[in-house]
C-alpha cells in the first residue's frame, strides 16, 4: 500500500464575512492544496495576511472551511463523528506564537500539562500522570523545574517549552507550530530551534511549521509552501525553493528578509 498522506487539503477555500474579522478585510483563502506526509517537516511560509495562520486553524479544526476537502489519514474530517473529533485532538496538536497567552495563567504548569493526560490518557493513575508530567518537562529541557509553579514565574522561552510539553503529552502524530519562535529573543530562539531539531529526530514527528522567517524554515523544513494573498505561489523542497526560488514573489521575499 502506498504511503497515505497524514494531512491532505485539496482545493480548500474559506472566505470571511467582511466586518467580522477586521484584520482580514476582504480576505479569502484558497483554493489551496497542501499535503503533509508522515515524518515530514512541512513549512507554510508567508507574510502576515497571507493566510498561513488560517491554514493552521483549518488543520487544527479550530475553524471550518467552505469548499474543497480535508482528509486526515484518508478520512474526511467533515464526516467525523463526535468520537472521531475527540480522537483527532489527541493526534494533532498546536504550539502558538505567543507563549505568554497560550498557558492558563491561573493553572500551575503541571496542571496545564496534566490537563492533556486527564482528557486523553485516562488509564493513567494520578502518580503515573505526575511522573509523566516530569518526564515531559525533562524532555523539553525543564527537568529541574517545579511543576507546581505558575506560568508567570517562567520566562518566554521556558513557557514556550511548557507549551511544547503540553502538546507532546497526548503523543500527537502531527505537531502544528504557528510562528513558535517569532516572539522569542534570538538566543532563546536558537534554543527552541535546537529543541525542535531533537524532537524531530527522536520522536519521528510530523510537523507543520507556519512561519514568516524564511531563514529558520530553510534550516528546519523538508518541504515548503510559500503563500501569498491566500494562495500557494510556490512549493517544493525547502533547500531549493529557499535558495533558488522560481516564483517572483518568493524571490522578492528572499531578497527582502535580513
Amino acid at each position: 500500500m502506498a504511503e497515505q498522506p497524514v494531512i491532505e487539503l485539496l482545493e480548500l477555500t474559506k472566505s470571511f464575512s467582511s466586518g467580522a474579522f477586521v484584520q482580514n478585510r476582504s480576505f479569502a483563502l484558497g483554493p489551496v492544496s497542501i499535503t503533509v506526509n508522515s515524518g515530514e517537516v512541512v513549512g507554510i511560509l508567508g507574510e502576515s495576511g497571507s493566510g498561513k495562520s488560517t491554514v493552521a486553524n483549518v488543520i487544527m479544526r479550530l475553524t471550518g472551511f467552505d469548499e474543497g476537502s480535508y482528509h486526515f489519514r484518508g478520512a474526511d474530517v467533515r464526516a467525523f463523528t463526535k468520537a472521531d473529533s475527540f480522537a483527532f485532538k489527541s493526534k494533532v496538536q498546536i504550539i502558538f506564537q505567543d507563549p505568554y497567552g497560550s498557558l492558563n495563567p491561573r493553572a500551575t504548569v503541571g496542571a496545564s500539562i496534566r490537563e492533556a493526560l486527564i482528557l486523553h490518557k485516562r488509564h493513567l493513575s494520578r502518580a503515573q500522570m505526575d511522573a509523566r508530567v516530569r518526564e515531559l518537562l525533562a524532555e523539553v529541557g525543564l527537568g529541574s523545574e517545579d511543576p507546581g509553579r505558575y506560568p508567570h514565574e517562567f520566562s518566554g522561552g521556558q513557557r514556550q517549552r511548557i507549551a511544547i510539553a503540553r502538546a507532546l503529552a497526548v503523543e500527537p502524530e502531527v505537531l502544528v507550530c504557528d510562528e513558535p519562535l517569532s516572539s522569542l529573543d534570538v538566543s532563546i530562539q536558537a534554543q527552541v530551534l535546537e529543541l525542535f531539531k531533537s524532537l524531530i529526530e527522536h520522536r519521528n514527528l510530523t510537523m507543520v511549521f507556519i512561519s514568516h522567517d524564511l531563514n529558520v524554515s530553510r534550516l528546519l523544513c523538508d518541504r515548503v509552501y510559500v503563500m501569498h494573498k491566500g494562495k500557494v505561489v510556490e512549493k517544493g523542497i525547502a533547500q531549493e525553493v529557499l535558495t533558488n526560488p522560481q516564483h517572483d514573489y518568493t524571490r522578492q521575499l528572499l531578497e527582502a528578509v535580513y
Binding site: I94, G101, E115
Partner: protein, 278 residues
C-alpha cells in the same frame, strides 16, 4: 525586563481602611455579644440621654442604647449586604457566563434584557416591593437583588468573552476540554480578580442603598436596629439628640469608605493588565 511587583506598598489611608473594615467585620460577628444593653428595650425614663459612662453613645427617643443598637445593627447591615451580593453574584455570573459561552442570538437577547433591567431605578423597584410585601428589610433586599444582577451579568459576560478569546482557550479546544471544565478551571479562576474587586466596591454601594432605602422608609422599620432606619428615626431629634443620627451616620460613612478604598487597592494590586509584560 521590568517586573511589576505583585504587592505595592500600602499607604496609611489603606491601612486605616483595612483596620476599620476588620473592626466592622468583627463587630458584625460579635456585635450582639458586645452590646452593653438590650438594643430593643424601650425605657422612656432614659430617653434622649447624651453620651455618658453608662450610655457611651447616648440613648434615642425611646430610651434605647445607641451603642448597643449600632453594634447589633452592624450584623444586620453587613449580613443583608452580603446576602444581596452573594445572590446577585451567583445569578449574574451564571447568566453572564452562559451568555458568553452560547453566544449568538441568545447572548444578544440576554444582554438586551440586562440592559432593559438596568433601566429600572432600584428605588422604584423597592417601592414596588414595599407595596407588595410591606416595607421591611426583606423588601429592600429583594429590590436590590432584582436591580443589581444585570451589573454582574454584563461584567461576567465581558470577562468571559475576553477569556474565551485567549490563546490558552484555543489550546484547551485543541485538547477537547469540555465546556463545564472550561468554566471551572479556565474562566472562573481568571475572572476571580475582576469579580472580587467589583464585590468589594459593591459592598459599600449596596450597604448605602439598603440604609438609604431604610432611611426613606421602604426598608427596615424601627425598632429593627438597621443603621439607615436608625438615622431616619433620629432625624426628629437632631436638635436635642445629635448623637442618635451622628453615630450611625459615621458608621455608614466609615464602612462604605473603607470598603471603597479596599476595592480600589485590590483593583490596583490584582489588575490583570499589571501582571502582563511591560
Amino acid at each position: 525586563m521590568l517586573t511589576t511587583p505583585r504587592s505595592y506598598p500600602k499607604s496609611w489611608v489603606e491601612w486605616t481602611a483595612i483596620v476599620i473594615a476588620a473592626i466592622i467585620v468583627l463587630t458584625a460577628v460579635f456585635g450582639g455579644l458586645l452590646a452593653p444593653h438590650d438594643p430593643l428595650v424601650i425605657d422612656f425614663r432614659a430617653k434622649l440621654l447624651p453620651p455618658s459612662g453608662t450610655h457611651w453613645m447616648g440613648t434615642d427617643g425611646a430610651g434605647r442604647d445607641v451603642l448597643s443598637r449600632l453594634l447589633t445593627g452592624a450584623q444586620l447591615t453587613l449580613l443583608s449586604t452580603l446576602s444581596v451580593i452573594a445572590v446577585v453574584l451567583v445569578i449574574g455570573c451564571t447568566i453572564g457566563i452562559f451568555s458568553a459561552f452560547v453566544g449568538g442570538w441568545v447572548d444578544n437577547l440576554l444582554m438586551r434584557l440586562a440592559d432593559i433591567w438596568l433601566g429600572f431605578p432600584p428605588l422604584i423597584l423597592a417601592l414596588g416591593f414595599a407595596a407588595a410585601m410591606g416595607a421591611s428589610l426583606q423588601a429592600a433586599i429583594w429590590a436590590l437583588v432584582f436591580s443589581w444582577w444585570p451589573t454582574y451579568a454584563r461584567l461576567s459576560r465581558m470577562i468571559t468573552k475576553d477569556i474565551l478569546s485567549a490563546k490558552y482557550i484555543a489550546a484547551a479546544d485543541t485538547l477537547g476540554v469540555p465546556a463545564w471544565r472550561k468554566v471551572v478551571l479556565y474562566v472562573l479562576p481568571n475572572a476571580f480578580d475582576v469579580l472580587i474587586i467589583q464585590v468589594t466596591l459593591d459592598i459599600a454601594a449596596v450597604m448605602l442603598a439598603i440604609s438609604g432605602l431604610s432611611f426613606i422608609g421602604v426598608g427596615a422599620q424601627i425598632p429593627t436596629p438597621e443603621w439607615g432606619a436608625m438615622i431616619a428615626d433620629g432625624r426628629d431629634y437632631v436638635r436635642n439628640g445629635w448623637w442618635i443620627v451622628i453615630f450611625p451616620g459615621l458608621a455608614i460613612f466609615f464602612t462604605a469608605l473603607s470598603f471603597n478604598i479596599i476595592g480600589d487597592m485590590l483593583r490596583r494590586e490584582l489588575d490583570p493588565t499589571s501582571q502582563r509584560r511591560a
